[in-house]
Symmetry: C2
Subunit: 205 residues, 2 copies
């Protein structure tokens, strides 16, 4: 047994597999800004594009905003296990095609998948090797300040958003990591560290 282990440790695979990092965070968590900062540091990262059956809006390009699929194409992908997760909103499908993620990871490229809580849990089941990260606001007060800061919406709309965010936060402990976003640079740096650390995990080597 020990010989096999030595061999494994000393025989790095020809190409190390890329990591799939699944990132969630409620509205007001600052997830978007943190991910932008991360992509500035790591131009080698691949951002996973979702697929949808809704029609493209003016200016949207297939493969950039979404992969635009027909309902038949989408359903056939679901049935073939070609979607890492999917959901239906307003009569349209949305989902994460497995093939693009697989191709990048096979080529040693790390993939970022930005997705809400339910989808993240589906991906974890379909791709158990993935690493899940929840970006959280520092406090309910700060969350409310950020949500209010966006515009002049009514108290009821703000309250609804706050409730949705708090519901998502209640799932944070189901993630592998929680990054409390006090400061954007620091949060992006933490996510970068999480990726570096995960690549050293003995269970991956």
């Amino acid at each position: 047994m020990s010989e096999t282990r030595e061999k494994t440790l000393f025989t790095p695979s020809l190409k190390r597999r890329g990591l799939l990092l699944v990132v969630s965070g409620p509205s007001g968590s600052g997830k978007g800004t943190v991910l932008s900062n991360l992509f500035e540091r790591r131009s080698d990262l691949f951002y996973s594009v979702s697929a949808t059956t809704r029609l493209p809006r003016p200016g949207e390009i297939d493969g950039r905003e979404y992969y635009f699929l027909t309902q038949q194409e989408f359903e056939s992908k679901i049935n073939d296990g070609g979607m890492l997760e999917h959901a239906c909103y307003c009569g349209n499908y949305y989902g994460t095609p497995r093939s693009a993620v697989e191709e990048q990871c096979d080529n040693g490229i790390d993939v970022i998948l930005e997705i809400e809580v339910q989808g993240a849990m589906q991906v974890k089941k379909a791709w158990p090797d993935c690493v899940t990260v929840f970006i959280a606001p520092p406090s309910p007060q700060e969350l409310e300040r950020r949500l209010r800061g966006r515009g002049t919406e009514s108290d009821e709309i703000i309250k609804n958003r706050l409730d949705t965010a708090m519901h998502e936060i209640s799932h944070a402990t189901e993630y592998d990591y929680i990054v409390v976003n006090d400061e954007v640079e620091e949060s992006a740096s933490k996510i970068n560290c999480i990726m570096a650390a995960e690549k050293c995990r003995a269970s991956r080597l």
Copy 2:
């Protein structure tokens, strides 16, 4: 349940607990150089000093090289659960006192414990929250080069060292993380990342 979770996430403990990082690596892994580099970056780290019953050598100071204990003191600590691990070499005890590690961690200070494989596994049992890191040489060839490079020892001595190192390496997969030490700066940076990432683990929050 979700309310408790929100509360937990949003109520950081008054003082975050320090991390206990247990580091092993065979002779020739470059562990010493990597740790020196890490301590240069992180002056806030605490290096855990071992206890021993052997007599101090000229120049050695109690609490710096070792805590020097009598056999009775050492055995009473073992019996009281005051040692995270211990072993006997050449008729003397060597071990890691729990109290110093506990005090630093309670004060939010991260502790580095440099220790061989058997001791590391004992610590993991006594302190399940600890993070174990194995520093490995990049290849058996490089390991041999490093071990030979040290002096003009006979082939037999080199062979013995190599066997010992390979035996230790066969335990690498029992650690949480393996850092293959190709380059010192990079390895120290990885260990630093491992600590940052571990502090974001949902299971610690």
